[in-house]
């Protein structure tokens, strides 16, 4: 039984990583709206976001010395071109992952996974791009759990498509298929903070989201009817709320709440979270939450708790040292809990290229017994054009 406890965790590694980096608060970007069309992060980058990626995030070490920041930024557009019109933006993405599981054991296994090969298209209109139409389509392998929640096992599909309208700079309405507004949208889909409240790589939903940004506050209210690509009885209908408050210009603290249900299960999740900036690319992200799962028609109720602490240090431009520390207790009545510790390195050698190496150590705590730690190595390549 002990060894099977790891299977769900292993399966979750067969997933794509999102393209959201809430740690960039440490570069002076507390809000996602500057760099992403989706105000909650993730998805295609704005022109400004592409420039930031080129000049502020990636290393300048490999560019010719004669290039200034303006020259570098001028290459940040689609296929290294400067946009010549205002209404259409495109982006191509590829993510590949070398996963070495059961590291250091006789069952060690190495697998290459093409996590994502997709195209994103943005149409934008009106003054200050107040009206946007955003879509993503391409190769996105479904998780091994997809069938169990009524998803069709399609490899070529969309993970988001929506229409957004900013009524004013402070408030916008977004309708379509997108990620739920909840918690910190960290790039690791395997994070307990994304897996337990079901806001991970295949949990997008159809719905309407209202996003607000006002006087140091930012938040979103999201009403959803579930993914229409799922069979009707599996669709999680409900709503969520995510609010953050800016403190001392540099930091954000906030909370999230989400409630949803389908024919089989009711799910309530709530969390406190914060993003602290220590300047120069160094940041601390923190989330502590609980999920209450109520299985309708039987006594399978449970309350689980999760914690996330991510540290980002930037010794030199383009290079980030990551500490990914997670806690999970799937059932508060159980005596077991898991702590997963993942030191990693994220490197942006040039614009549009991210290389990442993460080592994960998982340890089960039980006052009555001990098991051997599990180790996993993930090597990721991410390209966007």
């Amino acid at each position: 039984m002990k060894k099977y406890i790891w299977l769900p965790l292993l399966m979750m590694f067969f997933s794509q990583f999102a393209q959201a980096y809430p740690q960039f608060i440490a570069h002076g970007y507390p809000s996602c709206t500057n760099c992403h069309f989706n105000p909650m992060g993730n998805g295609p980058l704005t022109d400004y976001g592409r420039s930031v990626g080129a000049d502020g995030i990636s290393s300048g070490a490999f560019y010719p010395k004669s290039w200034n920041e303006e020259k570098v930024a001028s290459l940040s557009g689609f296929l290294f071109r400067t946009p010549v019109q205002d209404h259409v933006r495109a982006q191509l993405n590829y993510r590949g992952l070398q996963m070495v599981s059961a590291l250091g054991t006789s069952t060690q296994k190495s697998t290459w996974i093409n996590m994502q090969a997709s195209g994103q298209l943005v149409l934008k209109f009106l003054k200050d791009d107040r009206l946007t139409v955003v879509g993503e389509f391409g190769y996105n392998p479904p998780s091994s759990q997809a069938k169990s929640v009524g998803q069709q096992n399609k490899y070529v599909r969309s993970r988001e498509h929506y229409v957004g309208y900013r009524i004013s700079p402070e408030i916008g309405v977004y309708a379509g298929f997108m990620d739920k507004a909840y918690g910190l949208r960290v790039s690791e889909h395997i994070a307990f903070s994304r897996f337990m409240p079901e806001v991970t790589q295949n949990d997008q939903t159809h719905g309407v989201m209202v996003h607000g940004l006002w006087n140091g506050w930012e938040g979103a209210v999201h009403g959803f009817v579930g993914s229409l690509y799922q069979e009707k009885e599996f669709r999680q209908k409900g709503g969520s709320l995510q609010v953050e408050r800016q403190l001392w210009n540099d930091h954000r603290v906030g909370g999230s709440f989400m409630y949803s249900k389908n024919d089989y299960v009711k799910l309530a999740s709530y969390a406190l979270h914060s993003r602290l900036s220590f300047n120069d690319g160094s940041a601390l992200l923190f989330e502590l939450g609980q999920t209450e799962k109520n299985s309708l028609g039987n006594k399978g109720d449970s309350v689980g708790r999760y914690g996330l602490l991510q540290t980002y240090s930037r010794p030199i431009r383009g290079l980030y040292f990551i500490g990914n520390i997670e806690y999970q207790k799937t059932d508060l009545s159980s005596s077991s809990s898991v702590v997963r510790w993942g030191p990693g390195i994220q490197y942006f050698p040039i614009q549009k290229l991210e290389l990442r190496a993460d080592l994960y150590n998982s340890r089960v705590f039980n006052s009555n017994a001990s098991t051997i730690d599990r180790w996993m190595l993930l090597l990721q390549t991410h390209l966007w054009l």
Binding site: G104, D280, W341
Partner: protein
């Protein structure tokens, strides 16, 4: 004309000596230049009074050669100070003279943008010298720690590996020697915790709940300061003395062989500072043992 030539020659010599790192000579020379400057007593008196009383000077009443002379001496001083490598090398007189020369040039409204730029560079150098200064800091900390203990259960026919995943706390004191770029430190801490013990191999079954463990830890560290708020990224090497006594089974023929209580660890650590308080993470391995140790802690400067 003769006098002006004399000044120019001296200033050129001063620059040359500055460039050659002949600072004492350059300093003497600059003093000499200022003394020569006192051969303009009337002008100097007017400038000093204007600075002291906050009055506006009529810049056009001062000759171009005189203004240029002050500007050159100011730039010469800046060049000299820019070559210093510690705050001790910049004397109070240097600082006072430079401040006076800058104030004089402001009153004379002479080459203002160049004076501002030179002043900014000088201030940046002062800041740099300050940040390079090493100092000692004492601190106290409390960490939540997890570590592993291994043992072997020897039976009549075979051996079984035992493992305890412990969690507990370490309370300690530390001393760091640091500047704005690097931090070196030493820590001493006491540990207390507990863990469940199980067999992880072999045919024998062994289980013991919440076995207490205690000990001490002495570590040395070196870290790079990676942000302007003083965040650290570094390495820690520690000697760990831990005692955790496992109960020997009452069945005849069985005994428990525990590892030596002294072991060594190498860990990566990050530290995040909030003024006099800090948060720290630490993750690493035992040296020459396949076990892992990690810690999360809070500390304060004392």
């Amino acid at each position: 004309m003769k006098k002006r030539f004399h000044y120019s020659l001296l200033i050129l010599c001063s620059f040359a000596w500055c460039s050659a790192s002949a600072q004492p000579k350059a300093q003497n020379l600059n003093q000499l230049v200022i003394q020569f400057n006192q051969s303009y007593p009337k002008e100097l008196k007017k400038i000093k009074a204007a600075i002291r009383e906050g009055k506006v000077l009529k810049a056009e009443e001062f000759g171009e050669d005189y203004k240029k002379l002050i500007f050159d001496i100011y730039i010469g001083y800046n060049a000299k100070i820019a070559k210093t490598e510690s705050t001790e090398q910049v004397t109070k007189k240097d600082r006072d003279d430079v401040f006076f020369l800058k104030s004089a040039l402001e009153k004379l409204e002479y080459r203002e943008s160049e004076v501002d730029r030179a002043s900014e560079e000088l201030n940046a150098h002062y800041v740099y010298l300050e940040t390079k200064k090493y100092g000692f800091k004492k601190r106290a900390f409390l960490d939540f720690v997890s570590w592993q203990t291994e043992a072997t259960l020897s039976g009549p026919s075979s051996s079984t590996a035992l493992l305890a995943n412990n969690m507990g706390y370490q309370l300690g004191l530390g001393l760091t020697y640091e500047n704005s770029f690097w931090s070196f430190g030493a820590e001493l801490a006491g540990l207390y915790g507990y863990g469940g013990v199980s067999n992880i191999s072999g045919s024998s079954t062994y289980q013991q709940s919440s076995v207490p463990a205690y000990g001490g830890r002495l570590s040395v560290s070196g870290a790079r300061v990676v942000s302007s708020t003083g965040s650290l990224l570094g390495i820690k090497v520690a000697g760990l003395f831990l005692q955790q006594t496992l109960t020997t089974p009452s069945v005849a023929g069985y005994s428990i062989n525990q590892d030596r209580p002294l072991s060594f660890t190498a860990t990566l650590f990050t530290q995040w500072r909030f003024q006099n308080y800090y948060f720290e993470t630490e993750f690493g391995r035992y040296i020459a043992k396949p076990s892992t140790l990690w810690a999360l802690g809070l500390g304060m400067l004392i």
